[in-house]
């Protein structure tokens, strides 16, 4: 890539960072220059986020239908998977899978619920979906 070809497209980075790129200068030697972004990268990131949004909405529907507990919804909302959630909460992975069942979730002790609320950065009421407002999140 030559220095003059470094893309300067719009991206989420615009107000934060201009990335540093290495490219060939006019004399054939490598130089550095800043770039605001590249459209291809931006689309790749958009695709990833769209996938995340679908997963969150799916989880929300399932919770509203009473098929799974809110733990799954908040896990998706915080971009986690069971492995990461297990690392943050200290619960075993199979324990978390059990907590996905509404019947198990409803009987969870205060201490365990608090743990989840703390990790998800929400209040206990929000965790129990008593004040559930998905648009706000």
């Amino acid at each position: 890539m030559e220095k003059k070809d470094i893309p300067q497209d719009h991206s989420a980075l615009v107000n934060y960072i201009r990335e540093l790129c290495y490219a060939v200068g006019e004399d054939g030697n490598y130089e550095t220059a800043n770039s605001t972004g590249w459209e291809v990268k931006t689309t790749a990131l958009d695709v990833a986020w769209k996938d995340i949004e679908t997963r969150i909405l799916d989880a929300k529907d399932k919770v509203l239908r009473g098929e799974v507990s809110p733990v799954l919804f908040y896990m998706e909302l915080r971009l986690m998977d069971i492995k990461i959630l297990s690392a943050y909460t200290g619960f075993w992975q199979w324990t978390i899978k059990r907590h996905f069942k509404p019947s198990v979730f409803n009987k969870l002790s205060e201490a365990k619920l608090k743990k989840y609320a703390e990790v998800f950065d929400i209040s206990l009421k929000e965790l129990k979906m008593e004040h559930f407002n998905a648009d706000k999140l």
Binding site: Y16, Y30, A48, D51, I52, K83, A87
Partner: protein, 335 residues
């Protein structure tokens, strides 16, 4: 309290931290040199490590290795520590800062407040330098940022103890300078770096890494298309492109950095073949970028035919061939 530390922006976080820390110790080193001496160029596909519900790809060596190898090859001792509790981690960090020693830290990105929200995934192998403390705020030099920034005690502790794959566990590291690094030592380190990189890319056992790893993924793309369909394959390709081009991971970008490294190596080792091989890596970088454009067509949903996936496969084969040739030529250099 603030250490007189020069922040320089870099294309990649670990290169940047390594370069900035070594420059603080008085060693004239650039980002490409650090990257090349640390044998940073690589390719690996890790099918069992799912990141955001797609398999992981990496275009560079394991996190931490570039710093480790670069320092070792230049004959510089390194201190590296992990911690079990945030309190002891904070104490050791404060002590280092009091001793006028800027410190490299491995952190997770998800809670990194100064990053744009769109980039905050659970990725735990980001590197920053802490170079001072004012009131309750730590002064941070993040090499991918244009300028320096700061994090509160709580925020820093949170990112240092992020959890999940590659959890940093408060890891800190910094070099000790024992003697001056001579030009001969640099030349020797460069040779070592090139040699190991040749070995990593050409002769690493198993199908998923090195040049053969690129071809493996190329064949996988066709299999994904058969088994998982357009949408899912598109998601995987988006992951491939993000790992290739995204901030701090730049895979195609790494090929350019390596090309720059070979050019700069020429100042230490007067062998004109280095310059010719450098151009090969520029070509490889260009091809990666072209492949990314093709992939973008697929995950945007614009290209949906089987032929388009075959095209992607062919492009990756082409990249693999160019890189194989370049490394084979490097391996034949007798210096």
């Amino acid at each position: 309290m603030q250490i007189n530390f020069e922040h320089r922006q870099a294309a990649h976080c670990e290169n940047g931290v390594t370069t900035n820390l070594l420059r603080f110790s008085g060693i004239e080193i650039t980002e490409p040199l650090a990257f090349g001496i640390g044998s940073g160029l690589f390719f690996i596909y890790i099918p069992f490590l799912m990141v955001n519900n797609a398999p992981a790809f990496s275009y560079r060596t394991m996190p931490g290795l570039i710093f480790k190898r670069t320092c070792k090859r230049l004959g510089i001792d390194v201190t590296r520590k992990k911690f079990s509790s945030p309190d002891s981690a904070r104490k050791v960090l404060d002590e280092c800062l009091l001793n006028n020693q800027p410190v490299g830290c491995q952190v997770g990105v998800y809670y990194l407040t100064y990053f744009p929200k769109e980039y905050r995934f659970h990725f735990n192998a980001h590197n920053i330098v802490v170079y001072g403390k004012e009131d309750d705020c730590y002064l941070i030099s993040d090499p991918v940022m244009e300028g320096t920034t700061s994090l509160s005690d709580y925020e820093l502790s949170r990112v240092r103890f992020a959890k999940g794959p590659l959890a940093p566990r408060g890891q800190i590291y910094f070099p000790h300078l024992n003697e001056k690094v001579t030009k001969e030592k640099f030349a020797k380190a460069i040779r070592k770096g090139i040699k190991q990189n040749v070995r990593d890319m050409l002769y690493i056992p198993g199908p998923v890494a090195g040049v053969s790893g690129i071809k493996f993924v190329a064949r996988k793309i066709l299999k994904w298309h058969d088994k998982l369909g357009n949408h899912k394959t598109g998601l995987y390709l988006a992951q491939l492109v993000r790992m290739q081009e995204e901030i701090g991971t730049g895979g195609g970008g790494f090929r350019y950095i390596y090309a720059a490294f070979l050019q700069q190596a020429h100042d230490f080792i007067a062998d004109d073949r280095l310059l010719a091989i450098s151009e090969k890596f520029t070509t490889a970088g260009d091809l990666w970028r072209d492949a990314a454009i093709q992939a973008a067509g697929i995950f945007k949903g614009r290209l949906t035919q089987r032929a388009d996936f075959v095209n992607m496969h062919d492009r990756m084969y082409q990249v693999a061939d160019v890189e194989k040739e370049a490394f084979t030529q490097l391996s034949k250099l007798k210096f």
